[in-house]
């Protein structure tokens, strides 16, 4: 059984004057409702360009409905004017500025839950890792 742990630390000394911010959390990634760890993952590095196609598919939802899956995406661009629009369920989730990352659960068994990305400002580079409960590869074309 694999062991995967995700830890976060969020801190600021001046976002809330007089109240230093310090959040620390850690979680072990488990299969849905179970005590066994996730055992499948894919990771990669991608380059997305502005323009056609406007939105690029980063991850197709080919898993099992309502299963435990986790997504890490980082916009590794260095130009502050470059940012990546993150879309899920055809709805804009938000924007990752250069150097910013996200970590979120993903209900990847719903075909509409594809994760799409769009480059804004210039060609963005992304790194990503997806941890999955199940993973069905697409059928090969004849």
């Amino acid at each position: 059984m694999a062991t995967t742990t995700a830890t976060v630390s969020i801190s600021s000394s001046d976002l809330q004057p007089g109240n230093r911010l310090s959040i620390n959390a850690s979680s072990r990634l488990m299969k849905t409702g179970l005590t066994t760890g996730l055992e499948l993952m894919e990771m990669g590095n991608a380059s997305i360009q502005v323009g056609s196609p406007t939105e690029h598919s980063l991850a197709e939802a080919l898993g099992t409905a309502d299963s435990a899956n986790w997504v890490y995406i980082c916009n590794t661009s260095t130009d502050d004017t470059y940012n990546t629009e993150i879309v899920i369920n055809e709805t804009v989730l938000g924007y990752l500025n250069a150097g910013e990352w996200l970590w979120m659960p993903w209900n990847n068994g719903d075909t509409a839950a594809e994760i799409e990305v769009q480059a804004i400002g210039g060609t963005n580079t992304l790194e990503y890792a997806i941890f999955k409960s199940a993973w069905t590869l697409p059928t090969a074309t004849a």
Partner: protein, 141 residues
């Protein structure tokens, strides 16, 4: 200008070689080198029913900005979880708007486009009526 940093560390032995992802970001305004300056503050709420509720209202933020939302299920039971969705009304299993589940101890940090539309509310719904607590914090321009 405030400086707010968030660091993630992901360690795993899923592969035949160790996976270790470490990344630190400074939360900035959209397409800017300046840090975000506003926050909701850290909040928490205890649930004892499965009713879906709006945790973050779309009007709390400003459209087209680089807001962020942190959430964590503070429980320890992996069988109990919150559905988290980007939705106008409810979170439930298998709806297209469900982002995913936060089981006991799970956390997430996502960008959030606070478009002035109910479809950009962040909604949570517990899977059980057993007491369960979620904490969250919104970072925005």
């Amino acid at each position: 200008m405030a400086t707010t940093t968030a660091s993630i560390n992901i360690g795993s032995d899923i592969m035949s070689y160790p996976i270790n992802i470490n990344k630190t970001m400074t939360m900035k305004k959209l397409a800017s080198c300046h840090g975000i300056e506003e926050t909701s503050g850290l909040s928490n709420k205890k649930f004892s029913a499965t009713t879906a509720v709006i945790l973050v209202l779309n009007t709390e933020g400003t459209a087209g900005k680089a807001s962020k939302v942190y959430m964590r299920n503070t429980g320890a039971d992996k069988a109990n979880f919150f559905y988290v969705s980007l939705n106008a009304s409810a979170a439930a299993a298998d709806t297209t708007e469900t982002i995913g589940r936060l089981h006991g101890g799970d956390w997430m940090l996502i960008p959030w486009a606070a478009t002035a539309n109910a479809s950009h509310n962040i909604v949570v719904a517990p899977n059980t009526a057993e007491p369960m607590t979620i904490e969250w914090m919104v970072f925005q321009e």
